[in-house]
């Protein structure tokens, strides 16, 4: 029998439902892996003791009809967890213990799962390599000193290294899909409004969306089913009926139309990525889909638009960190103003400061029209590109990232080259539509590469089905040596 922790979420859920394993045994196996890890630094907080207690409680009175019966899950440390430290990867929240639970984690616990730990991430989810975390770099289990991507880097790393059976992340510009692509895992950013944002530390509220990160498309459907749903507490939550994504999962995609946007063939794209993309087209064609060339003419402007909209919203969201109500407070300063300024100077890291300053500038008097209003107009054009294309196609196929995982430190001093990592993922957030990244091959170093499928708003089922069909044909196998256990 394959080691328990290597199995998919769907497999272990079935084993528990068939009473072949107990939650305690399962939880112990993951805790053992977590304890053996000496290098990845994917956890900020471990909840081993409370997880074991919850596993034992579950076994005493197992509720086997739930979607996630007795499943331990570690989550990105951006989700507020009642009574458990929630840091957002920042010194500012180093000692913050929420006394409420985010809606998304609450939904998971209501389906029988419980908290295994809190996972490292870029500070306030601002980063593409997990190098902006106050709690240190995270390594990608695929190779030493390689970044896991970001901002959900700890989530991707822990999942790929079998330290958690599944996890959740948040995606503002690619923060689920890019790390999934870098670690050979599956990551879905749902339609804006499908998963509640209540209780998630805010970065850019019109772009932020929580989503599942899993070992397979089947697992992804199961997790989305558990997470999604209307929430009165989030004013942007969409009120619609719950869907049974996992029950309705099917690889029958005959006749579906898949668009290939020419604008995603960027300059200097590695040959391997081009090959991967070609292979993706071939596979979907073999499954009966029709491949259609399309154009998304404003793609080029998505990243510059994002770097106005996201920092603007961030500067406003992060104004709440004033050293008064919660979080860090500097002990330097002779008056209130100096206390604010020192608190924010000492509490935030460099990338967060950079983005707050960009945001403050583009919203400041005299510059609003030139930057923010301009960006909102271009955002309309970008969304309109997708609206037009989706009149003709069911989904869009692109690479997930313009490269495979890079080395720690490689892009740290050049913000633009770091930002360019999200070139294929950012347009989706601006348009509020869903997209999934699935592992689709490897490069010359044997590092994983992902393909991205983009869908219509609230069309997650079709997106999952296409991904499911592609996954079967690609048959990607993760081969990791457990170097992090030494």
């Amino acid at each position: 029998m394959t080691e328990l922790t290597k199995k998919s979420l769907t497999e272990i859920t079935n084993l528990i439902k068939k009473k072949e394993i107990k939650s305690e045994e399962l939880t112990e196996s993951f805790i053992r892996n977590i304890e053996k890890d000496k290098k990845l630094n994917s956890f900020i907080t471990k909840c081993s003791e409370s997880a074991l207690k919850k596993a034992k409680n579950f076994d005493k009175k197992p509720e086997l009809k739930k979607l996630l019966p007795g499943i331990p899950i570690a989550v990105k440390d951006l989700f507020c967890t009642n009574g458990v430290k929630t840091t957002a990867g920042s010194k500012m929240l180093e000692n913050f213990i929420p006394n409420y639970e985010s809606t998304i984690t609450n939904n998971l616990w209501n389906e029988g799962a419980f908290l295994l730990g809190k996972l490292n991430c870029d500070e306030y989810a601002m980063g593409s390599s997990n190098e902006t975390s106050y709690f240190g770099n995270v390594m990608n289990p695929i190779a030493k000193n390689t970044v896991p991507g970001g901002s959900s880097g700890g989530s991707a790393s822990a999942l790929a290294a079998n330290l958690t059976p599944t996890t959740i992340g948040t995606d503002t510009g690619g923060s689920i899909r890019q790390p999934a692509s870098f670690t050979g895992t599956v990551g879905l950013k749902p339609t804006y409004g499908l998963c509640s944002r209540w209780g998630i530390v805010a970065f850019a509220s019109s772009l932020d969306q929580a989503g599942p990160m899993t070992k397979s498309v089947e697992d992804c459907a199961l997790m989305l089913e558990a997470m999604a749903g209307f929430d009165e507490k989030d004013s942007t939550s969409i009120n619609k009926k719950k869907e049974n994504y996992s029950k309705n999962l099917s690889d029958k995609i005959k006749g579906l139309k898949i668009g290939i946007p020419k604008e995603y063939r960027v300059e200097n794209m590695p040959k391997e990525i081009d090959k991967l993309w070609e292979n993706g087209k071939k596979i979907l064609k073999e499954s009966g889909a029709e491949i259609i060339d399309i154009t998304l003419p404003n793609t080029k402007y998505a990243l510059p638009t994002y770097y106005i909209v996201a920092p603007a919203e961030a500067s406003s969201n992060l104004a709440r960190y004033d050293g008064v109500k919660y979080g860090f407070r500097s002990n330097r300063g002779n008056n209130l103003l100096e206390m604010y300024e020192n608190t924010r100077s000492e509490g935030f890291g460099d990338e967060v400061k950079r983005r707050i300053l960009i945001g403050t500038y583009v919203l400041s008097s005299g510059y609003y029209d030139a930057y923010y209003l301009k960006a909102q107009k271009v955002r309309y054009l970008i969304k309109n590109d997708f609206d037009q294309v989706f009149k003709k196609v069911d989904a869009i196929l692109t690479p997930s990232t313009p490269s495979s995982a890079f080395k720690i430190g490689e892009k740290k001093d050049d913000p633009i080259s770091m930002y360019l990592n999200d070139i294929f993922t950012v347009p989706v957030n601006l348009a509020g539509i869903p997209a999934i990244s699935i592992p689709a091959g490897t490069d010359n170093n044997n590092y994983p590469l992902g393909l991205q499928l983009i869908g219509k708003p609230l069309d997650e089922q079709k997106l999952l089905n296409i991904a499911f069909a592609a996954e079967k044909k690609i048959n990607f196998k993760q081969t990791l040596k457990k170097w992090w256990e030494k």
């Binding site: 804006y192 104004a319 109500k325 924010r344 960009i358 909102q376 107009k377």
Partner: protein
Amino acid sequence: MSIDKDKIKHISQLARISLDSKKTDALAKDLSSIFKFIEQLNEINTDKTEPLSSILNEPLRSREDVINDGKIREKVLKNSPQKNEEFFIVPKVIE
């Protein structure tokens, strides 16, 4: 547009973030290159384009104005770095 040190000082005051001069230099350089990148948007004519104000197709909901919590002073004060039983404490503002 290039962002000089004075501009950085001005925005950092607006954002309530104190910066030492070394940081100011580095930020001026970073922000200048970021704004150069952002200003690609000037290539597009958007005179006749409406700004996107919401990504949702439906308008935002409003809810009934009812009290649904309260009496949670302890919870609210719990994470404050400095407090007494009833209040957040801040440096003196009135002489």
